[in-house]
């Protein structure tokens, strides 16, 4: 007789590997053999985790279809079980897995689509903390603004891709008309963020992306603007700043750390590695 901890370890080993040798002797078999009874649980585990992944990576699922997605999910699950029960937080490694998944090698944009789905999922599961408004900024002396850091609201991130991710995403909406996307038509820089009732994204320019990524890494406004100018000498800080304020992608004052000089450089609102790595265009 197995102690409960050993029984649970044996059951877990079976569910992952499909090898029932360590557990089948502990299960009652009758007109339904023990192995067939055990298979119900193994099937359920894979089906329910694949369903969770299909919900989080709904654009990927839409692109590849149910059968392909289920097979890909099964392969992912075999080496990536969740470590806790909140399934909206399951799948962080899925995009990298998709990039290496051999049967998807003819769909080179698929991993970036998965990165967009994951970023939207993270933005959706972010708090609706108050956002910075133009009125808030009137309390900051104008000469101090350049040295200020402005944190991005939780869940805000920039996704870059050499593929037109926004066009691909649009064709996957349930009500989208049948359409084709030229993969070479444009690369994408998408600002993903939490909105009031959902998560969404807008396309941003190279300079705006540089500005946002600089702020995310903890730079002050002046440093952010310099990064943007380096990307595009015609960058207009006031236009971009007004647009980003309007989108609500900056955390409100009370969620900012304003006294850099006393506290030292504050940590960025989110880590730089939450960005997808920029892709180089293939020659």
């Amino acid at each position: 007789m197995l102690a409960l901890r050993d029984l649970q370890a044996a059951m877990a080993a079976y569910l992952v590997s499909g090898d029932a040798a360590g557990i089948v002797g502990s299960v009652v078999g009758d007109s339904i053999p023990a192995a067939a009874r055990l298979r119900i649980h193994r099937h359920h585990l894979h089906a329910s985790l694949a369903t969770a992944l299909a919900g989080t990576f709904s654009t990927v699922r839409q692109l590849v279809g149910e059968g392909f997605f289920r097979a890909m999910a099964r392969a992912f699950i075999a080496t990536n079980l969740p470590t806790q029960p909140v399934l909206s937080e399951y799948g962080q490694e899925f995009a990298d897995f998709v990039e290496r998944y051999e049967p998807a090698r003819d769909l080179p944009y698929l991993a970036d689509v998965a990165r967009l789905d994951w970023a939207l999922n993270l933005a959706f599961h972010s708090p609706a903390d108050p956002r910075l408004s133009a009125a808030d900024l009137t309390t900051v002396p104008i000469e101090q603004l350049p040295s200020r850091t402005v944190h991005l609201a939780a869940g805000t991130t920039v996704i870059r891709s050499i593929y037109p991710l926004d066009r691909i995403w649009a064709t996957c909406r349930p009500d989208a008309p049948a359409d084709t996307v030229d993969l070479d038509e444009a690369d994408a820089r998408l600002l993903v963020f939490r909105r009031r009732d959902d998560a969404g994204f807008v396309a941003v320019s190279e300079a705006e992306a540089a500005f946002l990524q600089s702020l995310a890494a903890g730079a002050c406004l002046e440093e952010g603007a310099l990064a943007a100018f380096a990307a595009d000498a015609t960058f207009d800080l006031s236009v971009t700043f007004a647009r980003l304020l309007d989108l609500g992608v900056f955390a409100a004052m009370q969620h900012q750390v304003w006294n850099d000089s006393v506290m030292g450089r504050p940590r960025a609102a989110f880590a730089a590695q939450s960005f997808a790595a920029p892709h180089d265009k293939s020659p």
Binding site: S31, L45, T83, F124
Partner: protein
């Protein structure tokens, strides 16, 4: 009799329920879907003043020999603190082993060892939340050769030792009885009536297991006829309790859920009268 039947609050219905505020005895959510912030959690918080809530957890893994995951427990406690639900529950099952979450309600051997472990975990949960929780009978697809207690004996003893409530799922009982060749009426005889806090109802499907039928508790259809009959028997014997219609896959129009709840209320009104006469 005031309605006792509530419905599961699922994402496709969130906007309609927020807008139309249909009448229902309570709304149930799965704890694990609301532990991270989201617009959906904010929508539930807006409903809190108008509806009694039931927080039904599926991932506490009360049967784990490893004990409870304190980090997860803290998140559940925080949600319960925010929502102040009328009911809190999870299952007599396990889903965590060695830090891996096996997304299923996995079966336990009904042994003295497991009884001690479940009682300890339920007691820890109640201590952390500062309130009673209810333990739900699972749908079973297999039994272990070394079980020494029946399921009602096991549930009764956990309730007696920990002071927890028992959530009686009529569909789970029907599924278990068919799959493990038990008599559901004899099963009911072993349950302490005073510990029962809530009923659940759901649909199941019939699958094939190596040529023999096996019932799968998939929460993807209306409550089946035999389960309505068993539910009537339960209410006649044990009296009315808050009753949840569960529907978690192939989710239908809100009106269908509300209609199922109305059916449950009719059974309770009918059988509850019989119960009152018998009492």
């Amino acid at each position: 009799m005031a309605p006792v039947a509530g419905i599961g609050l699922r994402a496709p219905h969130l906007a309609a329920i927020g807008r139309d505020r249909p009448t229902t005895a309570f709304l149930e959510i799965h704890a694990e879907n609301y532990l991270a912030p989201s617009p959906a959690l904010e929508a539930v918080e807006r409903l809190r003043d108008d509806y009694a809530l039931s927080v039904h957890a599926v991932g506490l893994s009360l049967g784990s020999a490893d004990g409870l995951d304190e980090a997860h427990l803290a998140r559940v406690a925080s949600l319960i603190d925010r929502l102040q639900p009328a009911h809190v529950s999870d299952h007599l099952a396990w889903s965590v082993s060695d830090g891996r979450y096996l997304d299923d309600l996995l079966p336990l051997p009904y042994t003295e060892e497991a009884l001690g472990i479940v009682t300890g975990n339920v007691s820890r949960l109640q201590e952390r939340l500062g309130r009673q929780v209810s333990l739900e009978n699972p749908s079973s697809y297999l039994a272990f050769t070394h079980s020494t207690l029946s399921e009602p004996e096991f549930l009764s003893e956990v309730a007696r030792r920990s002071g927890c409530g028992l959530l009686l799922d009529a569909n789970n009982l029907y599924v278990t009885a068919c799959n493990l060749r038990l008599d559901p009426k004899a099963w009911l005889d072993g349950l302490p009536m005073e510990a029962i806090t809530e009923y659940h109802l759901a649909g199941h499907t019939v699958n094939d297991a190596d040529g023999a039928p096996i019932l799968i508790d998939d929460h993807a259809s209306r409550v089946g006829g035999p389960v309505w009959s068993l539910f009537g028997e339960i209410v006649a014997r044990l009296g009315p309790r808050p009753t949840l219609i569960e529907w978690d896959a192939d989710i239908p129009a809100l009106e269908v859920l509300l209609d199922e709840a109305a059916c449950a209320d009719r059974v309770v009104a009918e059988q509850g009268r019989g119960h009152a006469r018998a009492a």
